[in-house]
Symmetry: C2
Subunit: 423 residues, 2 copies
């Protein structure tokens, strides 16, 4: 029997843990990603807000899997699966045969059916997204410094974050800190502390997946940092220079989108049932109905088989557990044993708000403030892939904690200062 050929699409946490757990097994594994790096997404907001560099939170997939001789890494973009022929198509026309197909492609942002908002309000999923947001934020201060009309200047200094989930809270908190500390003495005509940061949430409270009292604590902390938190404020329009939300019309040139997710379009080509966010509804073993040879993992999957939990949350630990589970399921097949069902072990959730402030919801243990923040630091450094990155990130964090500075304040790429918006 020739060893089965296993295609994994996506080198995020699910795909990577699956590949690692299949290392040195009797299987030919190909991991396909359109980027050459694995990204530690939970810290992406720190790249967007100039605290860390791209390199600190990313690692080439090839080097992570270097010691797995049966795993091949392919830089490429999967465009669709032909489930009848058991083939995966890539954007360059290649078709790859498979015995197992694992789709772990994560999610992009979704704009409530308004894709035209994307150019005005970038989201935060990739390094390129983070660099784009960093560029816009830093250029906004530069434009304000050059603007003589006080109304236009204030518009440059108004930052709107849409969406009160963990990403929105992290970005809003970090923007508040940049304004207050890092840029304070850098300008001659403006005072960066005059900048306004708004966090808009359509629902009744921020961090809706947390217990209500932690949502409240987070809101109070953000307010003490000077963030204007508005709940029940659903965005209904974004146009150049303005955001309309509930009955507010907010003048702003810099909008960050952290409100909605949509699973990658590759999922649709599998021909399986999807949920409202485009995620595949998976079976109890994370495979898809009628195709035990196809798994969908991580943020691309909707796992609804666990009592007391509507859908397994779209967070790192869930993706890691799913990747480990899929490896166990495939090995069970190879060894002729029945597959186990996936069971999500809830390790809790953590969201950081700012320097010294976080909220933690871990089983029966709830906390907010400095202890939660230390816990957040510990967990994030522990999980950062690569010893070297851990060391560098600790140095960066220590540096910015003690000096209140942000190290990575570089504007690169194409921009026009004289345009009303970045091009």
């Amino acid at each position: 029997m020739t060893p089965p050929r296993i295609l994994i699409v996506g080198g995020g946490f699910a795909g990577l843990y699956l590949a690692k757990n299949l290392a040195r097994r009797d299987a030919r594994v190909v991991l396909i990603d359109r980027n050459n790096h694995h990204l530690f997404q939970p810290l992406l907001y720190q790249v967007a807000t100039a605290a860390l560099s791209s390199r600190d939170i990313a690692q080439p997939i090839r080097s992570i899997l270097r010691d797995a001789p049966n795993v091949e890494v392919l830089l490429g973009e999967a465009t669709g699966a032909d489930v009848a022929a058991r083939q995966l198509a890539l954007s360059d026309g290649t078709r790859l045969d498979y015995d197992y197909l694992v789709v772990a492609t994560g999610a992009r942002h979704s704009y409530f059916g308004k894709p035209e908002w994307e150019g005005l309000a970038p989201g935060l999923k990739t390094l390129e997204d983070a660099m784009e947001i960093r560029r816009r934020v830093l250029l906004a201060f530069e434009r304000a410094e050059r603007e003589t009309d006080p109304v236009a200047r204030q518009r440059h200094l108004t930052f709107v974050v849409v969406g009160g989930g963990p990403t929105g809270v992290e970005v809003a908190g970090a923007l508040a800190e940049i304004r207050k500390f890092a840029l304070r003495r850098d300008f001659r005509r403006i005072d960066p502390r005059d900048a306004t940061v708004l966090l808009l949430e359509g629902g009744p409270r921020i961090l809706p997946s947390y217990p209500p009292d932690l949502s409240q604590r987070a809101k109070e902390t953000l307010r003490s940092l000077g963030v204007d938190v508005r709940t029940q404020t659903l965005v209904t329009a974004i146009e150049p220079g303005f955001v309309t939300a509930a009955d507010w019309r907010i003048p702003s040139n810099t909008v960050v989108w952290a409100a909605g997710n949509q699973a990658s379009p590759l999922i649709a080509s599998l021909g399986v049932a999807l949920d409202g966010q485009g995620r595949a509804l998976v079976e109890a073993d994370c495979s898809v109905a009628g195709h035990p040879e196809i798994f969908v993992l991580g943020d691309a999957a909707a796992f609804t088989h666990q009592p007391g939990m509507p859908v397994v949350p779209a967070i790192c630990p869930a993706a890691i557990q799913m990747g480990q589970h899929a490896a166990r399921a495939i090995v069970s097949d190879l060894e002729g044993r029945p597959r186990p069902s996936f069971r999500y072990r809830d390790k809790g959730q953590l969201a950081v708000i700012g320097r010294g402030h976080a909220v933690a919801d871990i089983g029966r243990f709830e906390t907010a403030g400095f202890v939660a923040w230390l816990l957040w630091i510990f967990v994030h450094i522990f999980f950062l892939i690569g010893f070297r990155n851990r060391v560098l990130v600790v140095i960066e964090w220590a540096w910015s904690y003690f000096t209140l500075q942000r190290g990575a304040r570089l504007i690169t790429g194409v921009w026009r200062l004289d345009g009303d918006r970045p091009t």
Copy 2:
């Protein structure tokens, strides 16, 4: 008397040292740069070859000049000077009045009158250039891994560096090391050690500004690293997939240009005499003829007033000395004293070839090999602006020295793997 308004265009070494030396003087200083960061150009080749990140060698100009209350930093692009009206025009239409104008805009590459080569053979002057070269080099290995035709595969694995000056030598040496060490175990179908690195120099020897025996030592060291060094090999054509040089036709998809320089076009708008590289011929005090209120400094200036030295070399120490000199000249004016003449103090030159190898030509002291390399490391860390960057760069260097790995192997930005060239 109102304090004079001094416009400095360019935040490189010359502009920055001038601004620093005018801090707290009775003058209103505006430093204009189209980037928000000062760049330590001597280490740019390390960003291009994935050893360092952008952030390690760049620092926001605003933070460097934070404690100079009479210095304002403006992000903007100067397009031309009206020397009669004493005004500088920016790309957004703004016109700024000046009492003194200092042009320290450096140089871009020049392509021997063939600007169409630029897309095929990027040069190395900015962070964007470095990221582009890094992207092309890393993608070339990825494309080779996917290519089945052995001839096309070898073309992906052939890297051509045009120009045997210090930049060309540094890039060629670094590419040889990546191939040999960093990528060795990362691929399954290709052996990165099969890659070919060629260094093409039109003249009779590489490092022509060094003594001939050091040129010879550098050539031998490059050869021992496996670089194919060809002198008397002037490039006459670059087309997609091929470089023609002397009577060679070399198949290559990845070409780096390090051959010619051209001063920035802003210089031409001053209406002064230029040399063959577009540099302004400056007077003994670094001002331009007939306009004592206009200085040209650094790589943009051709200073020919020093006996035994044809033109002050286009290197950091010269730019720093010119910046310091211009500050002294302006202060002399303010205090009613005659201006001193500029006198370049030759501190010598250093070029690195690879791990443990460099050449040094310091007055009567010449050396090559490990001692020169230690000297190179010491000088480069000493001059790196910002204590934080120094620490990070030391960690990066120690890491890659002991592990033979390159930390910053990320491909970001827009690319197409299926295209024959990056887009």
